[in-house]
């Protein structure tokens, strides 16, 4: 009986692994094909079933005038927007989370938990609900189709995540740390920046990782709020999809754009194994 259980366990794990890997393998294989090998039906193994070419990949590095797809610009836009918005969200979110974890707020029936909930509840907002007013809001202040406008919107998306993770984190940092610092004559700001903050780096890294993930994978706002000046990576790649669909360059571009975040998976796993994530994600 235990043997059967072990067998089933491994069987399921391997089955799921295949499911997880399948689209990646398919994309890698497709990225080396050309027109004939794509339209000739599904093939998988290069050299055996089709003659691999580098067309799909070389298109990514050609300028637009030579029929290339320029993804370098969108790539840097995506990185810039994601990192700036994450940074601002973490900075503001950490401060707010510290206040919510250490002090008591009371204004009528509104208490700490309600304020925390207010922050987190912004995630409930469906993007489409916000997209129309944001569209008009940004065009009024002249930030439509600009990096600054997108960053503004992404802060709304990411700050709830930062607050959510950091409140939880600070709740587990013993209060004695700041109390000792205060007794030693620091004022609350010194206590926070000199003592609490250095001890909160793991929590901030986790919060940062999540902000980066959720910033990087957003498509909808970038799709609605930018057109030609500024293009983010997901929008660029989905735009490829609507044309005659050159699957090979589409796959290559897709692989390039999902690659950097796969590194994040390794980092998150390290945090999990060291036990730093468990409290931060309750």
């Amino acid at each position: 009986m235990p043997k059967l259980y072990t067998f089933l366990k491994y069987f399921c794990v391997i089955l799921w692994s295949c499911f997880v890997i399948a689209p990646f393998l398919w994309a890698i294989s497709t990225s080396f094909k050309d027109f004939n090998s794509v339209t000739g039906g599904a093939t998988y193994i290069p050299w055996l079933q089709f003659e691999p070419t580098l067309d799909g990949w070389s298109v990514l590095f050609k300028p637009g005038s030579q029929g290339g797809i320029n993804i370098v610009g969108p790539y840097f836009n995506s990185i810039f927007v994601t990192f700036t918005a994450s940074f601002i969200s973490i900075a503001l979110g950490t401060l707010a989370a510290y206040a919510l974890s250490r002090y008591t707020f009371k204004a009528g029936f509104v208490q700490n938990n309600d304020i925390t909930f207010f922050f987190i509840s912004q995630r409930i907002m469906p993007p489409v609900v916000l997209s129309i007013p944001f569209f008009i809001f940004l065009s009024t202040i002249g930030l439509l189709d600009s990096l600054a406008g997108l960053i503004l919107v992404y802060i709304v998306l990411l700050m709830p995540i930062a607050v959510w993770i950091m409140v939880d984190f600070f709740n587990r940092v013993p209060k004695e740390i700041d109390e000792t610092a205060l007794i030693d004559g620091c004022n609350p700001f010194q206590a926070f920046f000199k003592v609490v903050l250095p001890n909160s780096i793991p929590g901030m890294i986790v919060a940062g990782l999540f902000c980066i993930i959720f910033g990087w994978i957003d498509f909808f706002f970038a799709f609605i709020l930018t057109f030609t000046n500024v293009q983010l990576l997901p929008v660029k790649i989905v735009a490829l999809n609507s044309s005659i669909t050159p699957w090979w360059s589409l796959s290559a571009a897709a692989l390039v754009s999902v690659a950097p975040l796969i590194i994040v998976a390794f980092v998150v796993e390290r945090f999990l194994s060291k036990g730093n994530l468990s409290g931060a994600l309750k």
Partner: protein
């Protein structure tokens, strides 16, 4: 401690968030009372005309809402079962534990729209690998152009994408559980199954609730997948609320009516998620 300090910590974040959001929210409410469309752009006042239209004359909105509920609940349910199973398996010793953990985390790190583009080629009826494989059995299902299968395709992609998030939350939860109850159960000679039913699962109840609620919130926003995979089609077979609002508002430019739907939808979401949270807490915390 000085009274003012706490506000210096809290207010920057709060003000920025409210500052960015206050206009969109008030504007949505105001817009929902106007007849703004492409012929007649402007904030005129038409009272609750839009709301009357929504509640009496727009079955498509309610259909899309029920479709969304079906898709969200099905995918989150599947994600929870699979995610819990996977987390439970790689929680304790298994060969290549860390390898599997990384592998199971990868899908949530990838951009949904981009992976959906890949999935679309995967599901392609004549050139995709799925039907190539199924042709061994002599069937060629129309994955994206028959109403039933299109829903299944979306569920498959959503489960692929987001089970890893559920897995992450549940694994983090499992790793934070105290050791003593498990030791006690082992000493009492509990079988693995009983250990799971009477120790692990009850201990995980609060974390499960949190994870399910978070996923339901995110799943209710499902849009990217639908947009790329089926564009709501065939017909309206996979159209969700978000997508319908998107079509009305940003394709047909019936801004006023779209705002009405957005606002109604938001209220429904908040109420139903609160109810779901309450019910889940009751059910899972019973033991």
């Amino acid at each position: 401690m000085n009274f003012k300090h706490k506000f210096v910590f809290l207010l920057p974040g709060l003000i920025v968030l409210i500052g960015i959001l206050i206009f969109p929210i008030i504007f949505t409410v105001r817009l929902s009372l106007s007849g703004w469309n492409s012929y007649n752009p402007g904030l005129d006042f038409v009272g609750i005309k839009n709301y009357i239209r929504l509640f009496t004359d727009d079955p498509r909105f309610w259909e899309s809402f029920f479709r969304l509920s079906f898709l969200a609940i099905t995918t989150v349910f599947l994600q929870y079962i699979i995610g819990f199973f996977l987390a439970h398996v790689v929680w304790k010793d298994i060969k290549f534990k860390r390898f599997f953990r990384v592998l199971f985390l990868i899908p949530m790190m990838t951009t949904p729209v981009i992976m959906t583009v890949i999935w679309r080629t995967f599901f392609h009826e004549s050139l995709g690998p799925l039907n190539d494989f199924l042709s061994i059995f002599g069937v060629q299902p129309q994955w994206l152009s028959s109403p039933g299968l299109a829903k299944i395709s979306i569920i498959v992609v959503e489960v692929w994408q987001w089970t890893s998030f559920m897995f992450l939350l549940l694994l983090a939860g499992l790793l934070s559980l105290p050791k003593e109850p498990f030791l006690a159960a082992s000493i009492d000679g509990a079988s693995p199954f009983k250990k799971f039913m009477y120790v692990t699962f009850p201990l995980m109840a609060p974390i499960s609730i949190g994870a399910i609620i978070i996923r339901l919130i995110e799943a209710s926003k499902i849009m990217d997948t639908v947009f790329v995979l089926t564009s709501g089609g065939p017909g309206t077979a996979t159209e969700t609320s978000s997508f319908y609002i998107f079509i009305k508002g940003l394709r047909e430019f019936q801004m006023g009516y779209a705002a009405t739907m957005s606002f109604t939808y938001l209220i429904i979401m908040i109420i139903s998620l609160t109810i779901i949270a309450k019910v889940l807490t009751k059910v899972l915390m019973k033991e």
